[in-house]
Symmetry: C2
Subunit: 307 residues, 2 copies
């Protein structure tokens, strides 16, 4: 929701209006346990600290969040709503943490993963959260790069498991398809194309100006190949986020990875336009050096991804 170059933040920045992560976590714990003191114990702080923190959060938001009674605390109606919004923030923070933790340990971790950007950005954090709940003591390290980089690291023995989203599998590697990613054509719901029911043909698509990533990006390559090198840019932007923002604002139709726009679609900020006869589906694959079938934590991670 940024990167468009417009829209400065309104006034005092977010951080002054949104409670910090600790407070949000505390609120979730209170919701789950039904008690301030219990939540405090779970987070390893004292009961007065929890009490004061919830109170200051209520002051900050201007809304009563919990009903306190001498035998426990329940969320108010507003509190339930706030807690749901808080949960989304905390989940995003968990994904951040999982990714960052993997990025941290540069070399010597037990499980070294190399992944393409799209996978590292959208899928890997979720897998790592799941992995952590099964094998809490597995340290994972992550290296992000294109298919060639992933292959190189695997073959050099510097990574145990790789993930690529290319059209072909680099030689010297075995692979399994773990999922599919489609590039999809999307527009803002107000755009004329949004109501279109007849699928768009490849020729039609190739002859229409689109909001695109810059030439050279993985997404753009796939589209160019699928259309026969013909994609016509309406605007070229240098990040997926910028493309999304432009499309949402109604600047035009865009082609993006399904993974990148899942939320926008379910919230109807964007809608898909059917396309026919264009191979916009690409495989997401786990890869490893031929022969070196994944074992141990790598095998565990792999099984999570294929779910």
């Amino acid at each position: 929701m940024d990167g468009s170059g417009a829209g400065r933040p309104p006034a005092a920045s977010l951080a002054h209006r949104v409670p910090d992560l600790g407070a949000l976590e505390l609120l979730l714990a209170v919701a789950r346990l039904g008690s301030l003191g219990g939540a405090a114990r779970e987070l390893g702080i004292t009961q007065p600290a929890a009490s004061s923190r919830i109170r200051s959060m209520e002051r900050q938001l201007g809304v009563a969040l919990v009903d306190r009674s001498p035998r426990g605390s329940r969320l108010t109606d507003a509190g339930a709503l706030v807690t749901d919004w808080a949960r989304r923030v905390v989940e995003a923070a968990e994904a951040f943490d999982a990714g960052a933790q993997a990025l941290r340990d540069r070399r010597d971790s037990r499980l070294r993963v190399a992944a393409s950007m799209t996978i590292a950005e959208y899928l890997l954090p979720g897998w790592l959260i799941a992995l952590r709940s099964r094998r809490p003591d597995t340290a994972v390290s992550l290296l992000a790069g294109n298919s060639a980089v992933v292959a190189e690291r695997l073959l050099a023995g510097e990574a145990d498991l790789g993930f690529v989203e290319g059209l072909s599998v680099p030689s010297g590697l075995d692979s399994v398809v773990i999922a599919h990613d489609r590039l999809i054509l999307v527009t803002a719901p107000g755009h004329p194309w949004a109501r279109r029911r007849r699928p768009m043909s490849a020729r039609e698509l190739a002859s229409t100006p689109l909001i695109l990533r810059e030439t050279g990006s993985g997404t753009r390559q796939v589209l160019d190949v699928a259309l026969g090198g013909l994609a016509r840019p309406l605007i070229e932007l240098s990040s997926t986020t910028a493309v999304k923002a432009a499309a949402v604002s109604g600047a035009g139709p865009a082609v993006l990875s399904e993974l990148a726009v899942g939320e926008e679609l379910s919230l109807r900020r964007l809608v898909t336009v059917p396309v026919d006869g264009v191979a916009l589906r690409r495989d997401l694959r786990a890869v490893w050096p031929t022969g070196h079938r994944p074992t141990g934590p790598a095998r565990e991670l792999l099984s999570l991804t294929r779910a």
Copy 2:
């Protein structure tokens, strides 16, 4: 990812491992502007403060995020990845803020909205963010409740615009359909049903134990009506989140609002199972007292929702 009663947080809580919102915002500003000082100016802090904050974030994460040079700063590869994860946290925080701000002003705001829970939880924050970018000075207040409550407030003149997701429109109100929400049948990707291609019939669905919300919840009501009051619970849980968590963990198939599982679907943590001959689609409607067609900010919000 919570509410399941299992899974305690690993160790030192998230807040100690994830930079605070201010730092994440700062990182986004640096990414966008290509300069620490510039980002500092935008956020209204001094350059050394920004410098130190970015540095301490790098220390915390154990990863270099920006390449500093005497003529600007660029993100490192890892920094780009971290920034993308950070953006998701900040976006969730923006939604939180938009919702909380609306919840705050109890009575006297310029635009008073009454909405059902599902809409208030998933859709409204996004609309409010959009509204704020068009009419920055419109103060919105929010009241969440079921259809009856929404109708009552509108008719009492205590709300200007309402949103309901019921099967029928309360009498005395005019309405427009602004979107559709479907209840969908979902399972973890590993579940046998995940591979099913032939749609499931209503009878089949009614005779299979499902993970469900408790009787009385809106979602459950719709399902019971659609199936003729026959839904068989495998487990009954008291929150959408708990149902999601159970389904993701493979406990069984669940029926949930499409809005609630958008992300899980695009990340393939859940997959849909086709269902046939069951009216699981429900209208989401904007409502207002008959005759009092929305004007001013209410009209603006309404137009945003129909996009």
